[in-house]
């Protein structure tokens, strides 16, 4: 090896080591102090309760929920999407937005950035969404008004509901590696459950999602489910979902007014294939949510 080449190689290696010194000085210390969290807690506490706070830096979640009670609300921690949310806030460490939030827009245009409030390295970004309508009904939040039955008769309870062929409950579940709060249907193989909401206030559309809970069950079963929506007894939409669709959205146009809405969910198999055999233990759980939305500006 020539002296010149050796010097060049050593210089290159030492230059990289020098960069690593600077990087280490930045990386190996906490950026966020307790004071930063305390300052931010005051800001978040002053926000209106119906304005969710989402995360542009998802891994901040546990500490953020510990320090900022607003983030531990279901609307912030496990929202269905950003429809029906006219104003919201996004907490980030150097980020004002996260690509996962693009999915939450679910067809909405990009929101308007209204400004930011800083607390040390943390920033709370404020957004408005003019293109969304108000949520008129939310099936997940009206448990006592829901009538639930399966193919073997009426289910008991006012949420959770116990049926002869399974159970239905509002739960927070992992769907596509994100928390979602939805109506989880744990049914026998080939089970069917119908959920009826009488006198529902409808606007321009019914919008919902369906997904399957738990990565392990998704790994061990690909069974689809069918979901049908009827309004005042007339079929308004029929959909088939598989777990590869993640948190799959669906919508049906509606006529504003008071109507009876019914959701029918039909499963194929609910168990999973474990090692050498099938185990029908209701682990591949479909979970859905449905909201009635007014037109934007209504």
């Amino acid at each position: 090896m020539t002296r010149r080449r050796a010097i060049a190689l050593l210089a290159g290696i030492l230059a990289v080591a020098a960069i690593e010194w600077f990087a280490a000085a930045r990386a190996y210390r906490s950026k966020i102090s307790d004071d930063d969290w305390a300052a931010l807690a005051e800001v978040v506490a002053a926000l209106p309760a119906d304005e969710p706070v989402l995360l542009a830096t998802p891994w901040l979640g546990p500490r953020a929920r510990m320090e900022l009670p607003a983030l531990a609300s279901w609307t912030s921690a496990a929202p269905p999407d950003l429809h029906g949310v006219a104003r919201f806030h996004v907490l980030g460490l150097g980020d004002a937005w996260h690509e996962a939030l693009d999915g939450e827009l679910d067809g909405l245009p990009a929101p308007t950035h209204l400004g930011e409030t800083r607390a040390g390295p943390l920033a709370l970004h404020h957004y408005a969404q003019a293109a969304t309508g108000q949520v008129l009904e939310d099936m997940v939040d009206v448990g006592a008004r829901l009538q639930v039955q399966d193919q073997r008769g009426r289910c008991s309870g006012r949420g959770p509901w116990r049926c002869k062929g399974g159970a239905l409950a509002v739960e927070a579940l992992e769907i596509d590696y994100r928390p979602r709060r939805c109506l989880a249907a744990r049914l026998d193989d080939g089970g069917r459950v119908t959920v009826r909401l009488r006198d529902a206030r409808l606007g321009a559309e019914l919008r919902g999602h369906l997904g399957f809970s738990d990565f392990n069950a998704r790994l061990r079963s690909d069974a689809p489910v069918a979901l049908a929506i009827t309004i005042d007894g007339a079929l308004a939409g029929r959909f088939v979902f598989t777990d590869s669709q993640g948190w799959a959205g669906f919508r049906v146009a509606t006529t504003p007014g008071v109507h009876d809405v019914e959701v029918e969910l039909v499963t194929t198999v609910s168990g999973t294939w474990q090692g050498v055999r099938y185990q029908g233990r209701r682990e591949h759980v479909p979970c859905f949510e449905l909201r009635a939305l007014a037109e934007a500006g209504a």
Binding site: L10, E20, W21, A23, A24, K31, T57, R65, A72, Y177
Partner: protein, 568 residues
């Protein structure tokens, strides 16, 4: 004092410092998931050993032997036997739980877990000493030796694994020992003879060592082929079946068999079961660039990217230079050095000429193979860098080789030597910094250019596994359990019940807390990994989405403690 003796003393000092720091420092490192069963197995094996020592006829008592070695027989017994023996020798008095009796060592100076971790830590001390010696020889000076030793032990992931009662750091140490012994076995019949038992010891630690004879054989064939190609004659009979191969073929299996009493009564049947367990090993979940992988094929790039993400780049550059230099040296070597009669190949010394031994290739094979093997899409998903940790000692030696050759080419004056020492500190500091600042969570630490734990979390790299980040949460668990009555149900998540019992035996587990399912828990632990959200949401349902305490590494949550009516 001779240079050789000074070197030996430095190597010994490095080993002792390493073991002392591991022994003390790792009391802050949680008992990881796999350690729980290894602790129990170690105690069970050691009880049998003690009975045999008292009454040697027990050695032939098959039912007693099978009872002692049936537990955790998917791994050989040697390291667990050593751990159990260390516990019986050094453990302070423990409590007992569920039929696992109390232990008090003959010289009770360490908590039981620390005592049982000691054999693995001693092997890491051995690795450091060997690296210093081999690095010094390859790089032509003590600084190269220090670089090799520092490269290895100062890596955050290596430091983490080096202190555990697990098999990963020990198999890396013993693999290094095997390769160094093999190198000597090419020129010395004594080492040739010893190589078999050493390989047997390695296989008795972990199954990775089963590849060693194949890799050594591959290297040896390459050496013979290169020698022939260079016109130094066909391989002689003594070279085709040399002593070291006979030793490995005969003594390695015998050593392995002798050191694993589980095999004694039914070796074929039980070996078959052992191989099948590892051939059909279950797949793990691992997060890589924001995606959770839990089924084949695994991304081919994962081991390479994770190596870059956890080893400082300057060190990898040095290792890369060493790889090129080593292979180039091998290619250029004429094999003409030394023509004395003593250089004639023999059964006991099949490649006595230095020019016939392809040292660069030897290091390259052992540096590249573990990473390449795990890169194969068909290999079960193993998320942790520990599964190719056996490559790191050889990367360290390649770095030492490069270090020596580069400075040699520059030309070293007295002033240059001081500069070299400063440069050595300079290249090792990022690694040492990472390890120091990452302790006791170095399983979750990342290299500086990745941005440490924060950068890795942004990139979607795995946060950790094995439920390791716990010890600093124990006081919080104690505090949060106050006022819950005599018995509070706690959800353990990825903390294995047997690991929890180890804390309990040592009086470190809050006495009120008893394990329970998430939905019935008043307190809950959650070790953050992408695929663990399911379990966290069970805690949200039972307790609520706000944790009471969060254990972090540089702002990145590793463990959350959930508690009903949490007190801050």
């Amino acid at each position: 004092m001779s240079g050789r003796r000074t070197s030996a003393l430095i190597a010994l000092a490095l080993a002792l410092v390493t073991v002392a720091l591991l022994s003390v420092g790792h009391r802050q490192v949680g008992y990881v998931r796999d350690e729980g069963i290894y602790f129990v197995a170690g105690r069970t094996h050691a009880r049998w050993l003690a009975e045999v020592a008292r009454a040697p006829s027990k050695l032939a008592d098959r039912p007693a032997r099978d009872r002692a070695f049936a537990i955790n027989h998917e791994h050989p017994a040697l390291l667990k036997l050593l751990a159990g023996a260390a516990g019986r020798l050094l453990s302070q008095e423990t409590g007992s739980n569920d039929g696992d009796p109390s232990v008090r060592g003959l010289a009770p100076v360490l908590p039981e877990g620390a005592a049982m971790r000691l054999p693995a830590q001693l092997l890491s001390g051995l690795a450091v000493a060997l690296l210093f010696g081999a690095g010094r020889a390859l790089g032509g000076g003590a600084l190269a030796g220090l670089l090799a030793a520092g490269f290895y032990i100062l890596l955050p992931r290596v430091w983490f694994h080096a202190g555990l009662h697990c098999f990963d750091a020990p198999i890396a140490a013993v693999t290094l020992a095997v390769v160094l012994a093999y190198r000597r076995a090419l020129t010395s019949w004594r080492w040739g003879l010893a190589l078999g038992p050493i390989v047997g010891l390695a296989i008795s630690i972990k199954h990775n060592a089963l590849f060693l004879p194949l890799l050594l054989g591959l290297h040896y064939l390459c050496c013979l082929g290169a020698r022939w190609w260079r016109g130094r004659g066909r391989p002689r009979p003594g070279q085709l079946a040399p002593l070291w191969i006979a030793s490995v073929a005969v003594l390695a299996p015998l050593t392995f068999y002798a050191l694993w009493p589980w095999l004694w009564p039914a070796p074929i049947e039980r070996l078959t079961e052992y191989f099948e367990f590892h051939l059909y090993h279950s797949w793990y979940n691992t997060e890589y660039l924001g995606v959770n992988y839990n089924r084949p094929p695994m991304p081919v790039s994962l081991p390479l990217v994770m190596t870059w993400a956890t080893v400082p780049t300057a060190l990898l550059m040095l290792a890369g230079c060493g790889l090129v230099i080593g292979l180039r040296d091998d290619a250029r070597r004429s094999g003409g050095e030394g023509d004395a009669a003593s250089d004639a190949p023999r059964f006991g010394a099949p490649l006595p000429r230095p020019g016939d031994r392809l040292d660069g290739l030897l290091l390259a094979i052992f540096a590249v193979f573990p990473i390449a093997l795990i890169s194969l899409p068909s290999v079960p998903i193993f998320g942790g860098t520990k599964h190719w940790i056996t490559a790191y000692p050889f990367l360290a030696l390649l770095a030492a080789l490069a270090w020596g050759r580069l400075w040699q080419a520059v030309g070293i004056s007295a002033r240059g030597r001081r500069l070299q020492a400063v440069a050595l500190v300079f290249v090792l500091t990022p690694s040492a910094w990472a390890t120091l600042r990452g302790h006791p969570y170095n399983l979750s630490q990342y290299a500086p250019l990745v941005g440490g734990a924060r950068g890795a979390a942004d990139l979607g790299l795995t946060r950790g596994f094995w439920g390791h980040a716990l010890v600093p949460a124990l006081p919080a668990l104690e505090e949060l359990s106050e006022g819950t009555g005599a018995s509070a149900p706690v959800y353990l998540h990825d903390l294995h019940e047997l690991s929890r019992r180890q804390y309990e035996r040592e009086g470190r587990w809050p006495t009120r807390l008893r394990p329970a399912g998430a939905r019935k828990a008043q307190l809950g632990l959650l070790f953050h990994e992408r695929h663990m959200l399911t379990y966290e949401l069970e805690l949200w349902e039972a307790i609520g989405p706000a944790p009471a305490r969060v254990i972090e590494l540089h702002d990145v949550p590793l463990t959350s403690v959930y508690a009903r009516s949490a007190r801050r």
